[in-house]
Amino acid sequence: MKTTKQDKVGIALFLLPGVALFLAFFIFPVIYVAGVSLTEWTGFTKASFVGIDNYIKIFKDPVFTRSIINNIVWALVAGFIQVPIAALVAILLSFKPKGWKMFRTVYFFPQVISGIALATLWAAIFNAEYGLLNGILELVGLSGLTRNWLGTLESAFPSVLLYWVLYIGYFMVIIFADVQGISEEYYEAAEIDGASRFMQSLYITLPLAKGSIVTCMTLAMINGIRQFEQVYMLTNGGPGNRTSVMVLYLYKEMQAFSYGTSSAAAVVLIFVGSLIILGLNKTLGKETH
């Protein structure tokens, strides 16, 4: 069907509100932040143009480079560990073992709890003096492993990551819904051919659920790049900036009345985030149905 001129006007009018909102609330702030990143501004006084000095400054700051690395590690763990675990659980639940509904609810339940509340809970679990984790380790005779999990240079970042990786419910539900939609005929045919459940999962479920898995990986990696509240609540970037991430870095710069460097960090964050997502789409996205 040919699109007439009137149709085009209608389409344009329908698109107009969305485009206007997108420009006002996404494009304009990004341009504004990019502009501020080229200035020295306390937020209280007049901004002065400093060119790319803020970018040079933040890239010379080892805390910022550590934050970028932490974010990249976080994104990779999210995309390639957290989501595969979620996919595995979703596939296992799709076999409808006994109590599968309960497990589905249990896995999803933490998603309805605020991240701040969870972080507070885990801060107590990781506490060196009265924490549950050290208590369990002592109970099972592994007291040699007890430590101040969030207060040791080596264990702080893995601890923060580990607790977060466990929350797979959101991705599990998305993948599970996709898996449920796969026609039974494929499995019946595979069964006739003598394929085991493992083989069926590997050659039927995974390829057909690839679209939702890649979507979950994208979402998880975006989450990894923009991490803030968990780190802020659990460690505030410590000890020794070991757990710092980019959003926390820019927040602290803002708190220090350095809006220029804060904005420069925000621009880098957008850039790194875009690179990761583009990379993911290039490698995995094009093969999805």
Binding site: P17, V63, E129, G151, L153, G238, P239, G240, F257, S258
Partner: protein, 439 residues
């Protein structure tokens, strides 16, 4: 016809959406406008004069919720609203999360607006530079300044003009639990650092952890320790030179202090650090008079009765003097300049009301906090509060804490540098260099 309806609906949708974007503050419920101090200029001006000539002031107030000053502040505001019922009304907007309040306030001022009444704890120069503070000089000169203790107003003065009222005083002596000290065989607090280490060893031998420390959040109590030690070593003028060796030496002392603290001190926040002291798990702690309420309400085994206070011990060979104190403005109160003379009049009237000695005495007695306001005759001070006042009066000097004299970037870096120091990643010199690199 269908196309016409489609275009018409699109137009309606566009207009309604865009109208939603550009909504005025007046369309917001009044209770929501300016929440957390984040009140855009348009919202303030749209809602400031609800009816007639009555001026409404909004106060995003941190002294709310469970804060020990909340009840009396509410009472003062209610009394003010009753007394000036025809002219003024002050509306408290409760802010129980201080960091969120602070962020909101800064954002608001950055956006070119300031709340009608607000408090802040440091960076007076920056708030001043915003040009949004009401000049209070004229009324101060007319007699209001008599309410304040001598010299206090200098803290809120710039080029002979008063722009902020120094209100709450922060003094931070050492608090110790005499019952726990007695268990270690001590009946008084050490007068020198050498004795302090002896006490620490005796406490450890008695199975008691000597000190509460923290590196989480803003490392508040440990930052106060660092301030006390820097001053004890370098004397009251030490802050004039950030390269003074006293900073490095104090860092060495901090390393030693952390050898005598709880296993969760690295990464611990204020609630954990204070919680150990309240639970009698540690014997020695630093905080201000506002903590007295916590000692009374949350201290276990009536531990409040066991708490005494002391200035920091003398550091052998240091330039600090016996009895030297750390003190600073814990809260300034200021008024946001709207350019509206009627509002300015109301703002100053309320600030004067809030700083009247009788009211402040009541606030002090109720909360334990100390203020820069002259006491109202024979003030009935709480036990620890009275001790603090005695020690302040006897102090050879009262110098500010490290966070007050340092730029915000240094204050932000302090917890990280401290954790690196006590975990052995930084030497004391590297600790100081790390902080100075943020100046």
């Amino acid at each position: 016809m269908k196309k016409f309806i489609g275009i018409f609906l699109t137009g309606v949708l566009s207009v309604s959406l865009l109208a939603g974007c550009g909504g005025k503050g007046a369309e917001k419920p009044s209770g929501e406008a300016g929440k957390d101090g984040d009140t855009p200029v348009a919202e303030q001006t749209d809602t400031e004069q609800p009816s007639g000539d009555k001026v409404t002031l909004k106060w995003p107030c941190i002294w709310s919720g469970t804060d020990s000053k909340a009840d009396v502040i509410r009472e003062i505001v209610d009394d003010f609203n009753e007394e000036y019922a025809d002219k003024y009304e002050v509306i408290i907007e409760e802010n129980t999360d201080y960091q969120a309040y602070r962020d909101g306030l800064r954002t608001s001022i950055s956006a070119g607006s300031a709340p009608d009444i607000f408090t802040f704890d440091d960076d007076f120069e920056l708030y001043l530079a915003s040009g949004r503070l009401v000049d209070l000089t004229e009324r101060m000169d007319a007699g209001w300044s008599d309410n304040f203790i001598e010299g206090a107003l200098e803290e809120g003065t710039f080029e002979d003009k008063v722009f902020a009222v120094p209100y709450e005083m922060g003094v931070t002596p050492i608090m110790y639990n005499k019952r726990l000290l007695a268990e270690a065989g001590w009946d008084s607090f050490p007068e020198t650092f050498d004795e302090l280490w002896e006490l620490a060893d005796d406490l450890v031998a008695a199975g008691i952890t000597p000190f509460s420390q923290m590196t989480g959040e803003n490392a508040w109590t440990s930052m106060l320790w660092y301030s006390q030690i820097v001053l004890a070593i370098g004397g009251p003028d030490v802050y004039d030179n950030p390269e003074d060796p006293a900073f490095v030496e104090a860092a060495e002392v901090m390393q030693k202090l952390f050898e005598y603290t709880t296993g969760d001190a690295v990464g611990a926040g204020a609630s954990v650090s204070g919680g150990h002291f309240l639970a009698e798990e540690t014997a020695i702690f630093i905080n201000g008079p506002w903590y007295i309420g916590r000692l009374q309400e949350d201290g276990q085994n009536d531990m409040y009765e066991q708490v005494e206070i002391s200035p920091v011990p003398l550091f052998e060979g240091g330039k600090g003097e016996k009895g030297g104190y750390v003190g600073f403005v814990q809260a300034y109160i200021a008024a946001g300049d709207t350019g509206d003379p009627a509002k300015t009049e109301a703002q100053i009237a309320f600030l004067e009301y809030l700083t009247e000695p009788a009211r402040v005495s009541k606030l002090s007695a109720h909360s334990g906090a100390l203020f820069y306001i002259q006491s109202d005759g024979e003030a009935d001070y709480e036990r620890l509060q009275g001790q603090m006042i005695e020690q302040i009066e006897a102090a050879p000097y009262i110098q500010k804490s490290f966070n007050v004299i340092s730029p915000a970037a240094v204050v932000n870096e302090f917890p990280q540098a401290l954790s690196s120091l006590v975990l052995g990643e930084f030497t004391p010199q590297e600790f100081v260099d790390s902080l100075n690199s943020k100046r």
